[in-house]
Symmetry: C2
Subunit: 648 residues, 2 copies
């Protein structure tokens, strides 16, 4: 579907929104890209990949060869750059997981044997980890790889129904190889999970090989174009040399050599989760672009009797739905930038043997992945529903955005599990403070915890809601919830519960603590970013948005701030008044602020989100070209309706 | 897709859950149905419509004739009964809107001419109200019906792109008639919206008639089986007698006769919204059945090191996701019962000329429609995501439930608009109290408002969290938020804003007030229902659920209760502790409580929600029968992959 057709006249409502800008949109776009050069680079790639090609359409199998050829031709290999252009397609796992895993874990001999043909797409691979009965908890995986020294082979086997590999993208029909995660057994002992390259289909005929029971797992919420698959291994033999042996090894005699460090695969996970944080921002920025542009051209009901129907963007309730999400989109884009930058910096350190900052980044990436994807997931639907009925039409693009995004709450670490990983780090940090240690980094606010939380800051009679104060209040809130979670664990222990049960009986509190920690971190990153902006116009509008992000969160979690004693019941209406003031402040810049995201019509692919605002004409055109309209009388009339009428 | 195949052995985990029940499930089912007789009636209908027919499958066009024939054969015409069995199909609007509108608004002559052929499905009708540019605000509709006395015809016309009728179900390809809502012009004057029967397609060939531009609006989020359509009327002439004239009339000379009361169409709207409230409960009960049964058989991770992976239902976080929704499902089912019962009672009064209770029921039905659909909408997704990756598979049924339910947040009155309708009633009531009037009915709590809210109840040092106290606290919360919204309007007026702008600038507060009012009402209905239960076992478990519903809401809106001064910061951890205690209390009965909803496997159609718990076997079977698996090598290999490989 394409909704980027051209009309000569811009909708007058949206034209008016673009007049009298108080800031330079291009400068803001540059900040989002990380500099003017990177904006140019992004646009060049977009030109080449998307705009120059009238036939280009995401996710359709026919566009894939074009895309891959172009990526190779123009040497586009930076995952952050590719990330802007990939949409669910059957080769995504090949590109995003199979090739990188080879790069990371294959020996030089394996690189020769597998990487080159994979680069040329003779080998098409997938990454088979999740099993029908096992997800985030990797130790529970059941697939076995048993070494047989007599033949120098591994026997790959799925012993149960629950051990069938399930979900890998491209596994069902597309891939001819898979990297399979399996429990390694050799010399009668289990050595835990290792990775093996398993040929699945014949290179010539593409028929499944002996012992390979393979297929598509059936229709899903979305991703119709991707053949997520299942794989049942029935005593399949592969050569010893197909185990990825850059780190761990099995020698010809069957002896096992442990990897030097179990933390070496750690980095990729942190990197991917950091990308997801930024993606949450991208996706929200797309949805806000669609919903805010549409709200600028949609007229409905009345505010003042007898006057023309107002733009729905003038309704306070509509602003209240969309502007906090607009602020959140910026917040998450900046958080994504921070994560990637920090990852790159720390990776440098790691190469020099310094792993000290890794645990903190690991903990933060887990929590932020959950925090941002949950928020964006809900936010997409708020945007969709703010477009009324038309948001439900796929011409709006919003339903597709939702079904493509929502799996990220589950994959790369189920969100609740992620929050609890962060909580584990927070609890450890809290115990360190209690033991008298001085913490540094993101959790340094816990140093002050027992001075402050137990006797909260005196509430000043005049409520101060400026941005820096708000960052402090979020810090106090996070500290309080960390402390309460720790207390819950202690109380459970005091009631005689074992350590594990005490933990489980406190997980509601632990998730809340992680959530508050992440919220604080995102706000802090937003504030810090705004502080760096030199251009006065951009600085001003971004300060307003950061402020809105903070105040809106305070409105949602008033209870926490009241509980922490940094706010009184009598002051709550001031928070609400401040929020309303900020919504009114954002209103004149709302369309400009989504323009700055620089989503091209052809990539947004939404009749509601069109840059020129000609929504209704485009929607009518889109509908008329619907498949059902190819004939005036649909075949179902003859097939179903006539026979039914005949029976009555 | 069918997932109701039989396995001989019940999964041992779910078998264990059903042992040692503390209450009689059948008695609870009877309460949900409104008596043992109605349970039997429901099961009889289910037997006839669904279970006896091995080919029956919802929503597929082939099942439709069977279903309609059976409804006629067994004389099933009660909308509440049909409501259990209908799923999105192209004839839904014909059955649910076209026929009832004829019954309500057609003259005897029109009944002869249209109803009989419609009952026999010669005429297939839809209800064309919404336009591309106009939704909930009916006065904004643009379609015109201009009376021409010379020919005794109405000229039906769509003057603009935005006036094209858009969305009606079955309009695109199925219907040959529509009831069209249009602005009536006669003798040079506009008389507002009236309803007209417009033939769309030739009865023989089904081809569109002259001047009728008609088609499908294109792919949507869901409802693939329904041809939602567009209709552009180009000076289409219909006879004068095609205006629905039971109430309003246009005489042959063109003079207009007003209907006696504009409130006569009112009732249907209230009834439909009341049905939606109950539907929100049904849908949540389905999702809870799926998620809770699956959580009882799914094992994952570990609580205690070295022990077997626990049922995920034993994780506190999983309980925290699902049990409050389970309580909400019961709350909404009871609220739906209350609304239909009250509607029936008041309808009786209306027939005797007493309209006094109608405004309150109208206001309540608007707000509850929004309150329950928003909550259920979010709740479906919480249930889906609580099933991990498998929730994303359509074999779980959860994606389909979501896309079928989510439009109810928009149709029959957009939810934010609905909340503001309720708010209008609350503000009117509040002004009446201020003027010294004594209110009765649901808003009588506002009588106490200025004694109580301004000087909140003294907080007792020992926090009392029993159910009756909680109902009182929700009442105080609602009263406070009504008062704050009224104050916001007054303050805006005092700042010199006109009445309409003062209202618009207070709509955030008004929506919150309505939300709190609805929350209070639902809790009160739940408590009242529980009070009527005589059986001690059922009473006990339902008390726990009602208590959980109340405490969970208090946890979500702690800020309001703190602000109202009925809770202190130091008491908040007690609320959290109480919540955890209730989750643990519900745990042993969780599976029994979803069994009591009595959703048959064949209707639930979910591999995860199977009564026998044989989830993995059923999922594997379902996947193997996926359309993509008909051949071992999919055609895309030859069509796309081979050419791509050849190019590299």
């Amino acid at each position: 579907m394409c909704s980027a057709g051209q009309y000569t006249i811009m909708n007058p409502d949206i034209l008016r929104e673009r007049q009298n800008a108080t800031f330079d949109i291009e400068k803001l776009t540059n900040i989002l890209d990380g500099g003017a050069e990177r904006t140019n680079r992004r646009r060049e790639i977009r030109e080449v990949l998307v705009l120059n090609d009238p036939d280009f359409d995401y996710g359709t199998p026919t566009s894939l060869p074009t895309m891959i050829l172009k990526l190779r031709e123009y040497g586009i290999s930076d995952p952050v750059e590719i990330n802007w252009y990939k949409r669910g397609n059957p080769l995504e796992i090949h590109l995003a997981m199979f090739l990188p895993t080879l790069l990371n874990q294959a020996t030089p001999e394996q690189m020769d044997r597998f990487f080159t043909p994979s680069w040329d797409l003779e080998i098409i691979g997938t990454y088979a980890q999740t099993e029908m009965g096992h997800g985030t908890h990797l130790r529970g995986l059941e697939t076995t790889a048993t070494f047989d020294p007599a033949t120098q082979e591994f026997v790959m086997h799925s012993p149960t129904v629950t051990s069938i590999k399930w979900w890998p993208g491209g596994l069902g029909k597309t891939s001819n190889h898979a990297i399979v995660l399996a429990q390694l057994y050799t010399q009668g002992k289990c050595h835990g999970l290792n990775a093996f390259i398993v040929p699945l289909r014949s290179m010539g005929t593409h028929m499944p090989l002996p012992g390979i029971v393979i297929g598509d797992i059936g229709p899903k919420f979305g991703f119709d174009a991707v053949d997520n698959g299942y794989l049942k291994l029935e005593h399949v033999r592969i050569p010893r040399e197909n185990m990825l042996m850059k780190y761990a090894q099995v020698k010809p005699d069957g002896s096992y050599v442990k990897p030097l460090s179990s933390k070496l695969t750690y980095g990729t996970m942190v990197f991917i989760r950091s990308l997801i944080v930024g993606n949450a921002g991208i996706v929200l920025s797309q949805c806000c672009t669609i919903a805010i542009r549409y709200s600028a051209v949609r007229h409905q009901s009345e505010i003042r009797a007898g006057e023309a129907e107002p733009q729905i963007l003038d309704y306070q309730t509509q602003q209240h739905k969309l502007f906090p999400l607009l602020a959140t989109a910026y917040a998450f884009l900046f958080a994504g930038q921070y994560m990637i930058d920090t990852y790159n910096r720390i990776s440098g350190d790691i190469n020099q043997g310094d792993l000290s900052e890794m645990p903190e980044l690991h903990a933060l990436s887990a929590g932020l992945k959950a925090f941002t994807t949950w928020t964006a997931n809900t936010g997409i639907e708020v945007c969709r529903m703010s477009c009324g009925g038309h948001g439900y039409s796929r011409s709006s693009a919003l339903p597709d955005i939702y079904v493509e995004f929502t799996p990220s709450c589950t994959y790369e670490g189920e969100n609740t599990v992620m929050m609890l990983q962060t909580a584990r780090f927070l609890m450890k940090s809290y115990r360190q403070v209690q033991a008298g240690q001085q913490l540094s980094g993101a959790v340094s606010y816990l140093n002050k915890v027992h001075h402050r939380v137990m006797a909260p800051q005196a509430v000043s009679s005049q409520l101060d809601l400026n941005l820096n104060t708000l960052v402090d209040l979020y810090e106090i809130r996070a500290a309080m919830l960390v402390e309460l979670a720790a207390q819950s664990i202690q109380q459970e222990s005091a009631r005689g519960k074992c350590q594990e049960d005490s933990w489980n009986n406190s997980t509601i509190d632990l998730v809340r603590a992680s959530d508050a920690h992440c919220h604080y971190m995102v706000l802090k990153m937003f504030r810090d970013k705004v502080d760096q902006i030199e251009d006065p116009g951009v600085h001003s509008v971004m300060s307003t948005l950061a402020h809105l992000y903070a105040i809106h969160g305070m409105g949602n979690f008033t209870g926490d701030f009241l509980q922490a004693g940094v706010l009184t019941g009598a002051q709550v209406p001031s928070v609400s008044k401040c929020l309303k003031g900020l919504l009114a402040e954002v209103r004149p810049s709302a369309v400009l602020l989504v323009d700055a995201f620089d989503h091209h019509d052809k990539m947004l692919n939404s009749v509601l989100g069109r840059h020129d605002g000609n929504v209704y004409e485009a929607m009518f055109e889109w509908a008329r070209s619907s498949p059902l309209n190819r004939t005036e009388v649909h075949e179902s009339f003859h097939k179903h309706l006539k026979p039914l009428q005949a029976k009555l």
